[in-house]
């Protein structure tokens, strides 16, 4: 029976290690290592091709493709370097010139650069971000498009309680909420709902799939009243969920913004990227993600090309 005991203890230790490893520093660096020639782009010449990077998820990839194809459509040289993992990795790649442009999220970039930042309203976040950026990088005008935590209810529940914004939840007693475990302690989660919006007695259920299918099922089956789902998740439109407005900016702004190396930033590039940002809304992100998730699993580059065509940018 000694073996059994060893197996059991190993299982416990293994689980703990696996979980710890998952939360470890995401040093998932560039998976495609086509850095050849890219380092030369740090030379400072404005005619050097722009290399657009992306993180390892669909939305980031399609945005990078949109930037690159929009630049090419206006006769500028651009290429992509997709799937660069986490912020630690791609900010490093921007600093050393491997990539020169990146579709970023204002709020997350700000908290990465300045963990103590408290700004939540879009303009405040943008101002704080400009102050916190390293000297070789700058951001252009943010778009209206945001991908961030959002509080969602079913349309039936919204109708029954006449809900439009988070503030309308105040009158409902015994409100139940589902979301990732960190929502219980983070400022934009349960503590913020209590202090900023005065909602009390929230019953919180932690579901560990970042607003994925388990959270969705809990909401649509009526087990919980409200669920935290990222604002550009296709399931929001597919299930006709109602995303509650956040008039007091409980959740920090996460506008999509072009983050670019200063040595590649010039009026021509700015004009192209600002035209893209002007057309980009949260609804367009939702549509793009819905297409990416579609049954035929289209390539990010094709989805990007179609969007640029539909919006008269290419």
């Amino acid at each position: 029976m000694k073996v059994t005991r060893l197996v059991a203890s190993a299982a416990v230790a293994g689980l703990a290690l696996t979980l710890a490893a998952c939360g470890g520093n995401p040093t998932n660096t560039a998976s495609g290592s086509d850095t050849s020639g890219a380092t030369s782009s740090a030379s400072g010449s404005s005619t050097a091709p722009i290399v657009v990077g992306s993180a390892s998820f669909g939305e980031s990839e399609v945005l990078a493709e949109i930037y690159a194809q929009a630049l090419e459509a206006k006769g500028l040289k651009a290429s992509t370097h997709l799937d660069i993992g986490q912020r630690e990795a791609y900010i490093g790649a921007l600093k050393d010139g491997t990539i020169s442009l990146f579709p970023e999220y204002t709020g997350n970039l700000l908290t990465y650069l300045d963990p103590k930042a408290t700004a939540t309203a879009p303009d405040d976040v943008d101002a704080a971000l400009k102050a916190a950026l390293p000297s070789e990088l700058t951001v252009l005008t943010p778009s209206a498009a945001e991908d961030k935590d959002s509080y969602n209810v079913t349309s039936a529940f919204a109708k029954a309680h006449n809900l439009h914004s988070i503030a309308d939840l105040k009158g409902i007693s015994g409100l139940s909420l589902a979301g990732n475990p960190e929502l219980k302690t983070r400022s934009y989660g349960v503590p913020g709902l209590e202090t900023v919006y005065g909602i009390s007695g929230i019953k919180f259920t932690a579901i560990n799939d970042s607003g994925g299918p388990l959270t969705l099922k809990a909401l649509t089956s009526g087990k919980v009243d409200v669920a935290d789902i990222y604002s550009t998740t296709p399931s929001i439109t597919a299930n006709k969920l109602v995303t509650l407005d956040d008039p007091k900016h409980l959740v920090a702004a996460q506008n999509i913004v072009p983050l670019i190396r200063k040595d590649h930033d010039n009026p021509q590039v700015d004009a192209v990227l600002n035209a893209v940002s002007a057309k980009l809304t949260t609804q367009s992100l939702l549509d793009l993600n819905t297409k990416l998730d579609g049954p035929d699993k289209p390539k990010a580059s094709d989805v990007a090309a179609q969007w640029l065509k539909d919006n008269g940018l290419a």
Binding site: A8, S9, V12, L19, I207, K217
Partner: protein
């Protein structure tokens, strides 16, 4: 060393020992999930295992089935069940029962197989019915191995019941899942320590139980 002191201070903080999020409440929940799971799995696996061991039928099936069940990833199963049945107690309980059945089944049929055939033939020759052979000869002689199977099942379930927290339940897994979400590693380590201590305590109880049963033979 700071890691150890952080974990120690997390474990000894009085605030972590009270309320719904406190260790006593979480330990009770955890033992509750474990007991429920092992009870359901025993009700399924022990009669089946005893029947297989007594009759020798379906032995090949039992070996193949336990092997297949062991190969199922419990976290995947809990997610699948959660998608099918929604969040709640049912989904993780089914996943954990699947985990607990193989050692219970193996303990039962292997226990009966370990009994000397001559003893069983002797019991039959003095006129015992099949039920008497099973109840008065086979089970008492096989009991240490059957209990060994239960012990193995309890240990696996107590260590794996942490996954219930993955889909919104309580138990000691809350410390691992919640700690991971906010990168609170002392909380995760403290939760793991409590799981390990609980597993060792339960194992100790079974060691004593098995020793008592062996000496009674």
């Amino acid at each position: 060393m700071s890691v150890f002191s952080e974990v120690t201070s997390w474990l000894t903080d009085g605030a972590h020992w009270q309320g719904d999020d406190g260790f006593p409440h979480r330990i009770v929940e955890h033992i509750g999930y474990t007991a429920l799971t092992v009870a359901i799995a025993s009700a399924i696996a022990l009669p089946l295992g005893l029947w297989i061991g007594h009759t020798g039928r379906l032995r090949g099936f039992a070996v193949a089935a336990t092997g297949a069940l062991r190969a199922l990833p419990t976290l995947g199963l809990v997610t699948l069940m959660g998608l099918w049945l929604g969040i709640g107690l049912t989904a993780p309980t089914i996943a954990l029962v699947v985990l607990a059945i193989p050692p219970l089944l193996a303990g039962a049929y292997a226990g009966l197989e370990s009994v000397d055939r001559a003893t069983i033939d002797a019991a039959r020759s003095i006129g015992m019915t099949e039920w008497q052979v099973l109840g008065k000869v086979e089970i008492p002689l096989a009991l240490p191995i059957i209990v060994g199977g239960i012990r193995s099942a309890v240990l696996q379930v107590v260590a794996t019941a942490t996954i219930a927290a993955y889909i919104g339940l309580g138990g000691l897994g809350r410390y691992l899942i919640d700690g991971l979400a906010v990168r609170d590693y002392p909380q995760m380590a403290a939760g793991s320590v409590v799981v390990v201590v609980l597993a060792l305590l339960l194992d100790g109880i079974f060691v004593v139980l098995q020793r008592v049963l062996s000496t009674q033979r």
